[in-house]
């Protein structure tokens, strides 16, 4: 399973980075390949490349606000959740998305 995602929270100070870290760890422990961009108060970091987006099975937006560059994901399967969902239960979140994807 290949995943790309974006994390962004209201103030772009803390939750963005905690959420990214939690999701990355959970994905890696499940054996998935993941790339996560952050859009925080100091701008975009770990920006996704077109190749990463192209190869992804789905896009995971862990966001509390409107993000920039959403048009990059046109035509992809996009799942959007608040940062708190990803912080609280990242593994459960990923498994639920993957289960649903595989069932469809």
């Amino acid at each position: 399973m290949k995943i790309v995602g974006v994390a962004a929270c209201t103030s772009g100070i803390a939750h963005t980075y905690i959420a990214r870290e939690k999701v990355m760890k959970a994905a890696q422990s499940l054996g998935y390949e993941i790339h996560m961009e952050t859009q925080g108060t100091i701008g975009t970091e770990n920006e996704l490349t077109p190749a990463q987006i192209e190869a992804a099975d789905f896009v995971l937006l862990v966001v509390d606000i409107k993000i920039g560059g959403r048009e990059r994901f046109a035509g992809k399967k996009v799942v959007e959740v608040p940062t708190n969902t990803a912080i609280k239960a990242p593994t459960k979140l990923l498994q639920a998305v993957v289960d649903k994807l595989q069932a469809s």
Partner: protein
């Protein structure tokens, strides 16, 4: 060498004066006020009430209790002179809106300057945020007994995810 550089950087935003390992507050508001007092005394916040108002406003936008007994209230505010953080560890539980519905004993108050051009300081806060995603870090945080132990723990380089 890399480790020395790192602890040097962390000490730019977190100093022992901004740590309380015996927080007296018993409520969320009182904890935010008590930590704000440390920031004011250290000269990092210039308008006490203005900063508290901004932090409380952020509280209305979503819960800042991360679960596992840790809360991260934060304010991006004109009242902040230097981007930094204050840390309070309490010997008693403090009620807080948290992802696991449990009270907290560790409160990390992020103070971010409204128009911060100093990326370095924000990167250091980011590093602390990343550490908070690590269960073993949280576990150690709950066993801190001295300010020096806390400073050492924070100087740890997060494992890149």
């Amino acid at each position: 060498m890399a480790i020395d550089m790192n602890s040097f950087e962390i000490s730019k935003v977190i100093t022992p004066e901004l740590i309380s390992i015996d927080l007296q507050a018993t409520t969320k508001v009182a904890a935010i006020e008590e930590l704000t007092d440390l920031l004011v005394a250290h000269g990092d916040v210039i308008d006490r009430q203005g900063f508290i108002d901004d932090v409380m406003y952020r509280e209305t936008e979503g819960m800042t209790g991360l679960g596992q007994g840790v809360a991260i209230p934060h304010g991006k505010s004109k009242a902040v002179k230097n981007t930094t953080l204050a840390i309070g560890i309490s010997q008693h539980a403090i009620g807080w809106e948290a992802l696991d519905d449990e009270p907290v004993t560790v409160v990390i108050l992020f103070a971010v300057k409204d128009t911060d051009a100093n990326t370095l300081h924000i990167k250091l806060l980011q590093k602390v945020a990343i550490l908070l995603a690590d269960d073993s870090f949280i576990e150690r945080l709950h066993h801190i007994e001295t300010k020096a132990e806390l400073m050492d723990l924070l100087a740890k380089e997060p494992e890149e995810g």
